[in-house]
């Protein structure tokens, strides 16, 4: 993500100046990661809202292009910050109780079963199981894990996006991985 930061700012600037293709190029770079982050944060129960929130996020990016400061954060960090807040807004509108950090931490006390990697995801069924396991993670851990594993954000960027210390982001990632291993090992011992 890091090397593209300047280019992203250029594209945003071009979009602000009226270049009709600049925004599409920027969108193509990050739409997949953005949508998947929103989709995973929402989980199964709210998956219907993913398309709308994804669209709202990009509209917000377009409208606030002038506010982006590449010196303060990378574009993906800014994008995911907005996407995450859109998701939180949705939860608030739906009266969904978002787990607090303290509750999350209590849920993180899971013993790490050690290395049991999924070397390859060979089937759609297994892929769905992995996704289900990710969506079963506590919300904060889930967000950190998806941003790190799929969107490629650094821990520093994730800390910036989520408004926590780097150490907190790091521990959330660690517990997320441990929980996934445990969860997937419990469901598919033969494969994991």
């Amino acid at each position: 993500m890091e090397p593209d930061a300047a280019d992203d700012a250029d594209l945003l600037r071009a979009h602000g100046a009226g270049d009709p293709h600049a925004f599409a190029r920027l969108y193509d770079r990050y739409d997949r990661q953005c949508f998947q982050l929103i989709r995973r944060l929402l989980g199964v129960a709210h998956s219907d809202a993913a398309e709308d929130l994804h669209q709202e996020t990009w509209i917000a990016i377009s409208k606030n292009a002038a506010a982006f400061d590449p010196g303060k954060s990378s574009f993906p960090a800014w994008l995911f910050t907005i996407a995450r807040h859109k998701t939180w807004d949705h939860f608030r509108r739906q009266k969904v109780a978002v787990l607090s950090s303290a509750q999350d931490d209590a849920g993180m006390m899971v013993p790490d079963p050690g290395q049991s990697p999924l070397e390859q995801v060979q089937s759609r069924e297994l892929a769905q199981e992995i996704i289900a396991a990710v969506e079963a993670l506590p919300l904060e851990q889930r967000g950190v894990f998806v941003m790190f594993a799929q969107a490629g954000l650094s821990l520093e960027e994730i800390a910036q996006v989520t408004g926590v210390a780097v150490e907190t982001a790091k521990s959330r990632l660690r517990y997320a991985r441990a929980k996934l291993r445990q969860s997937l090992a419990g469901e598919r011992p033969a494969h994991v």
Binding site: F35, W58, A66, A67, T81, D89, V98, S100, I130, L180
Partner: protein, 328 residues
């Protein structure tokens, strides 16, 4: 905790592969069309990215200058336009220059100042509504040598030095403030009934300019300053910064003192962040509660589009929620 956590993990790879397996290109293409069409339908974006923080802070500085200038000029105009007609029976009030020159000639202006206004530009801006010259004399008229039959009141002699010194805006403001403090008692005194010589009437008249009745030719006083400008004009930006710093550090006593001084509670920094946001980010419920009691907005958004409410929601701290009056 180790650096191992920051390195890629097989679980990360498995998840990325799972997302790739489940990803539908057709859905993605349809989504792309929808999003880009929606973005295109939205109103035009704000100006391009070129260093917005600098522009904003520059505007704020300019805003202060404009607000101060407008305030000064409005005071200047008020003392001129709303000035009641001269009362000849009144004894010449306070100004020493007038008392020295009172008997033979009603208007005495210092020689250099009396000549200067002829060349100097008039400080009053054309955008602000001023009464017709026939009805009330303008500053230029007053500073020029007036004919004996219509002597300008003593207060009009004070500004004669203004154009000669400098036409700079800040000096106009300073002079205007000086004149306001000097002029207020004089004007108020002259408002008193000619027959009323009691000390109480004079004392009450000295207190304020508020009871002054508007002249008939002014239908309603023009709104010289918006409420927002008035509130920001009262406190310099460094006080707003101090307010945010105090909020971030949880110094409630300092917060209370600044708020009591009239520092705008929702004044934001270059990132659009208010004192309330700072207190939430730093987890200072007492400071947040104090700011809320002074009307700090929960819904005002920063540059990233986040409000204080968003931040509190994200923080998820029960004590903070209670301090903010949020019910979850």
């Amino acid at each position: 905790m180790s650096d191992h956590d920051a390195a890629p993990d097989p679980m990360d790879k498995a998840y990325a592969q799972a997302e790739a397996v489940l990803s539908e290109d057709s859905e993605r293409a349809a989504r792309r069309e929808r999003v880009l069409a929606a973005v295109a339908r939205e109103p035009a974006t704000a100006p391009a990215v070129s260093s917005p923080p600098i522009r904003r802070s520059a505007w704020r500085r300019g805003g202060w200058l404009v607000a101060a200038s407008v305030a000064g000029l409005s005071v200047l105009l008020t003392t001129q336009v709303y000035r009641p007609a001269p009362i000849r029976q009144q004894p010449a009030p306070t100004t020493p220059a007038v008392s020295a020159a009172a008997a033979p000639e009603p208007v005495v202006s210092p020689p250099p100042a009396a000549e200067a206004p002829a060349q100097a530009p008039k400080p009053a801006p054309p955008a602000i509504a001023v009464a017709p010259r026939g009805a009330r004399p303008s500053l230029g008229d007053l500073s020029a040598a007036a004919p004996p039959p219509a002597p300008p009141p003593p207060i009009a002699q004070a500004p004669v030095t203004l154009p000669a010194e400098a036409p700079g805006l800040s000096e106009v403001v300073v002079t205007a403030h000086r004149r306001e403090s000097d002029a207020a008692p004089t004007l108020a005194e002259r408002r008193a009934e000619p027959g009323d010589k009691s000390a109480e009437a004079k004392a009450s008249a000295r207190g304020t300019l508020k009871p002054m009745r508007q002249p008939d030719f002014v239908a309603s006083p023009p709104p010289l300053l918006s409420p927002a400008l008035r509130s920001s004009a009262g406190s310099p930006p460094d006080q707003a910064a101090r307010l945010r710093d105090a909020a971030a550090a949880g110094r409630t006593a300092e917060l209370a003192a600044l708020l009591a001084k009239g520092v705008p509670v929702d004044a934001s920094d270059a990132d659009g962040e208010t004192a309330l946001m700072k207190s939430i980010q730093a987890d200072h419920p007492a400071a947040a509660a104090l700011l809320r009691r002074h009307g700090a907005s929960l819904d005002r958004k920063n540059r990233a589009g986040d409000s204080a409410r968003d931040m509190a929601t994200e923080f998820g701290d029960a004590e903070l929620d209670q301090a903010l009056g949020l019910d979850r």
